[in-house]
């Protein structure tokens, strides 16, 4: 086992554990922190795989921005922690079924993929190359995605605005 493989497994275990804790934690703030660790682990994994740009973006966007937003909303909205109780069986059953299905699908994909038997060649994606690759070869998909995001932003604005005026009318 090379040093890289060791690191990979350490990181993989850390990601799986922190994610596991994150979804079972009762304390929302703690859950967010574990999730941040999980994202951080994934970022390191990306780095290890030769994609420093993706690693940085993972930290900036997921660990940095999105999770802070989560934290912000948790702090704003709910001051007290959720009471300790198990969710009812009705919620457990679909969750378990979905989980099993997901695992099975994953296994099938992994074992039927053509390149699954061979280790990837060491690659290095520099920002410039990645940018060229994305914007020259997949420009249409990027435009579509950005359009979608724009629609989402306008929608969010609209929703937020309507609620605001509704709020002032009340008293």
């Amino acid at each position: 086992m090379t040093l890289y493989t060791c690191l990979f497994y350490v990181l993989a275990v850390a990601i799986v554990t922190t994610t596991g804790i994150a979804i079972t934690q009762r304390n929302l703030v703690h859950a967010v922190i574990y999730l941040v660790f999980s994202f951080f682990g994934s970022a390191l994994l990306f780095y290890l795989l030769g994609a420093p740009l993706l690693a940085a973006l993972e930290v900036i966007v997921y660990a940095g921005a999105i999770m802070v937003l989560f934290l912000f909303i948790i702090m704003m909205v709910k001051m007290e922690s959720i009471e300790e109780r198990m969710p009812p069986l009705g919620q457990w059953l679909p969750a378990v079924l979905c989980g099993i299905l997901y695992l099975a699908l994953g296994a099938v994909v992994v074992y039927t993929a053509p390149g699954s038997e061979f280790p990837l060649q060491t690659a290095m994606a520099t920002p410039v190359e990645l940018g060229k690759y994305l914007f020259q070869r997949h420009w249409l998909s990027i435009e579509i995605v950005s359009l979608l995001l724009l629609v989402a932003i306008i929608g969010a604005l609209h929703l937020g605005k309507r609620k605001e005026t509704g709020g002032t009318e009340e008293p």
């Binding site: 420093p52 921005a65 520099t126 920002p127």
Partner: protein, 328 residues
Amino acid sequence: MLTWSLGFLILMVKLGAVLLFLLLAAAYLVWLERKFLARLQVRYGPNRAGKYGLLQPIADMIKMLTKEDTIPEGADRVIFLLAPAVVTVTALLMFAVIPFGGDLSFLGKRIPMVIADLNIGLLFVFALSSLGVYGIALGGWASNSKYSLLGGIRGAAQMISYELSLGLSLVPVVMLAGSFSLVDIVRAQEAYPFILVQPLAFVIFVISAMAESKRIPFDLPEAENELGAGYHTEYSGIRFGLFFLGEYVNMQVLGALVAVLFLGGWSGPFLSGPAWFCIKILVVALVMIWIRGTLPRLRYDQLMALGWKVLIPLALVNIVVTGAVILI
């Protein structure tokens, strides 16, 4: 093996030197701030502890180190204890990619004056600064105090908002330099510093940077008049000291970034690279202190409006214009 250990040794030396420099500079930045503010306010400032009060930071540090470390009842202990470290560590780590000067020759080896010249250097800085928010938000949350909580919420909202304009304002710089590496960006400014071609980006960056470092007029997370001490209300002794330290290291980071991105980094006539670099950081820091001594504080919604409605659109326009100019 020999080269490897030599490289490791050099790395360690660089790390130690930078860390020592940063901590000392942070301490004396506090001294400088107290003296300079005092001068702005027609008074002397500390002058009893050592000549010109030069030992004042040492006295404050020893005092804080030997003060009781209180943990409020009902606090989330682990998070409460770790939050200050997050702020300081992320601030310190940012210096890993900042170049202090040109390459140095030592025993026939070229030693770059930077700890790690990453090709995503700038993104690395952003990543760390976005993680620094956690120290503020979680410190405020874990204290189990309403003032801290409000400070934490303000901090989280403010920092993610200004992260955007901070990042966007730098896109033109990256476009001009063609690289995320800070060393490359400095090299790209050999002819002229970017402040000349990107004045708008410079202004947006400086404003956002001040908001990121939570200084007047953007010091809402710790607004003394409103929230007591804000997110660090419940911290005493050295943990409070760590927040303090983080803030001043942050100030240096931002000074360094302004120097690297807009003022041509270490380049300058007559003096050596690192000297120029320090002078530039110092100038930026003094301007920030000056602003602190002059302006009132914004309100929360005004702060948000400034970020989202003014700075971000301006930064976007700047990107488009710069792109168009580069294409033509």
